[in-house]
Symmetry: C2
Subunit: 385 residues, 2 copies
């Protein structure tokens, strides 16, 4: 199969590209390197050193030859996007080319508008290219569990649910009540994709993904193949940030009481899930929503796990509460379905505690790099100024 990966230079994109090449598929990447620039803007970098794309490709070509290709460009560029999609004619597109940070989108008007344009218009351009050039391709799009919001007061199904209202029943989209400008762009995308599937008979899987953590997959162990690992407030996910904090003896900073419950998923399992979705496309015209996470935990539970495991390794890990800069419930009912991927064969690679141990061990040699930029871990980007 030929897999097009917009966002191939990112945390998941790079690991996914390696996995797909490993199993024998052709991979064509696209990236505009905005993630590198935006992390730099935050004053940070990847804790694990990563190579420039030119060098990354050099190593890949040694092993995979013509099976890998890459184009630098932007989905906002209509001609570029049409050009690549029409030339590559992918069987599957895994669209990861979005601005992925909630705090980044909340910095100010400029960052909000940038996020909305980049995500919503980029996805629309891609949809139009698919319709024109590869209407039978399977578009896999990375959304977030945050689209549903974390406190809807109801169980969260996978995309749709049956409701009864004044004596009539219908199956309708589950309400979306996102909590940041970034999260709303993912909702707008989902809505646009749902419509495109109906309008043009496209097939798409919209992934409502939980919080991903981890430093590596089987394919990214060697330093030349590292995927990025962010630990700054904007681009580091909570679990990744906590591990970076543990390694440098910086207290794990939970927001408020840390009672925010979320779905979590290891990086290797995110790649496993996406690969399962690639192998099991929906029908023509189907808009399929999957909730992609392994287990639910509160942020405090995660912090305590990292504290325990870090302390077992001789680190002195503290947990410290700070004022919550976000607009979110710190104690809430949370129970989200996640059966579809299990039904496709998803099984976790390893237990979360083991993965945390691996992360800490992997990060320890890079302690100085994290230490050097430790001021980026807590920048206090406030939702309400």
């Amino acid at each position: 199969m030929k897999i097009l990966i917009p966002g191939m230079d990112g945390y998941i994109g790079w690991a996914l590209a390696l996995k797909q090449l490993k199993i024998g598929n052709q991979v064509c990447g696209i990236d505009n390197f905005s993630r590198r620039r935006n992390v730099e803007e935050m004053g940070s970098y990847s804790a694990l050193p990563i190579l420039e794309m030119k060098e990354r490709l050099k190593f890949l070509r040694e092993t995979f030859g013509e099976k890998v290709s890459f184009f630098q460009g932007d989905l906002l560029d209509v001609d570029f996007t049409n050009d690549i999609v029409s030339k590559v004619k992918p069987d599957v597109i895994v669209h990861l080319a979005e601005q992925p940070s909630a705090p980044y989108s909340m910095i100010d008007q400029e960052h909000n508008i940038y996020t909305q344009k980049n995500n919503v218009i980029g996805t629309l351009n891609l949809l139009h290219s698919v319709q024109k050039h590869v209407p039978k391709a399977h578009l896999i799009k990375l959304g977030t569990m945050g689209e549903y919001g974390y406190d809807p007061g109801l169980d969260i199904p996978e995309g749709f649910f049956e409701v009864e209202f004044r004596g009539k029943k219908a199956t309708v989209p589950f309400p979306k009540i996102a909590g940041s400008w970034y999260h709303w762009t993912k909702v707008h995308d989902s809505n646009n994709i749902m419509f495109a599937c109906k309008l043009w008979n496209l097939k798409s899987t919209d992934i409502m993904q939980g919080i991903v953590y981890g430093t590596k997959t089987e394919q990214t162990i060697d330093e030349n193949y590292h995927t990025r690992f962010d630990f700054d407030e904007a681009f580091g996910t909570s679990m990744n940030r906590f591990c970076a904090q543990a390694v440098i003896g910086y207290p794990l900073t939970i927001h408020g009481s840390g009672g925010q419950t979320r779905g979590f998923l290891a990086l290797s399992d995110s790649i496993q899930c996406i690969s399962l979705l690639i192998d099991n496309p929906p029908d023509d015209g189907e808009y399929r929503v999957v909730n992609q996470f392994d287990e639910q935990y509160s942020v405090l539970e995660i912090a305590k796990k990292i504290q325990n495991i870090g302390n077992q390794k001789g680190l002195n890990v503290e947990i410290k509460s700070k004022e919550n800069p976000r607009l979110e419930s710190e104690k809430h009912y949370y129970n989200a379905d996640h059966e579809k991927l299990k039904n496709l064969g998803f099984k976790r690679t390893r237990e979360i505690d083991d993965e945390i141990g691996i992360m800490i061990e992997h990060l320890l040699p890079y302690k100085d790099r994290i230490e050097e930029r430790k001021e980026v871990i807590v920048k206090n980007i406030k939702w309400q100024k």
Copy 2:
């Protein structure tokens, strides 16, 4: 009160400005004149001749002096928008500055992207300006009943409904299942506005408006004060198009069986409703949704009304079915609430049959203008190419 009206040059914007001036409020208009350009792009113009804004303002200033002001510019221009909002410091903003045509958004990729950028980013810029400069102002935003979709299989409440799912109850946004790229931009806007109200404690009324019809209000009778009246496929609403067709002896073109049921509202009543909302703002932080229409009819029922009334006036009005270019149900359950505006005091100005008679009489002297551009009435902009 000081009312800012982005989109003042449009069909509703102009009529609303005149009404608000008439009752003694200050009005500041904004427009980039995109409606005039976009209608021209469709090969059309307003059936009722309208003046250029410069001349419109000359007449207004004779009567209202300093109470009226106007700025040419675009909400996509961040500095312009911030500048006007901070200088004018409006009490109320009635945001009508959107690309309002579903068919126009469906022409091709370029028209879709234009619509999404114009509407979504324009509204976001306005929200940021309100937050920065007039956080206590009441933002009234024009949405559409089409945000809910026309065949959800459930009664349609005003914005929110209580659902029970697996034994838990919650009040959540009613699902949005729009049927064109344009309609989806209104959904994206609604979602962004709902979030802004929560985030910044803004107050906003989001109007889910039905199909507006009519050639005039009490304030737009004189030719110098005409508001525009579009009859082309993209910018003319179904009822307005039918009346234009009746006047020139062009069969009323219903799509398919004409069983599409919609909410309808006369222009003068749209202005009445917006004026009621201006006078009755929601609370700080409240995101209020109102369904703004008077009566529900199927498109065929509307066509028959116009046929009967036209024939009574000696016109020879035929109804002709054409292939439906849209993606929509032609027979469906439809029952939408519209109580909130009645509770604020809304009463229809006159019966729909009387308004149709007035429209036809008003259009008859401009028969030649419509005749000259009759090829724009059916352009056959298809949803699915």
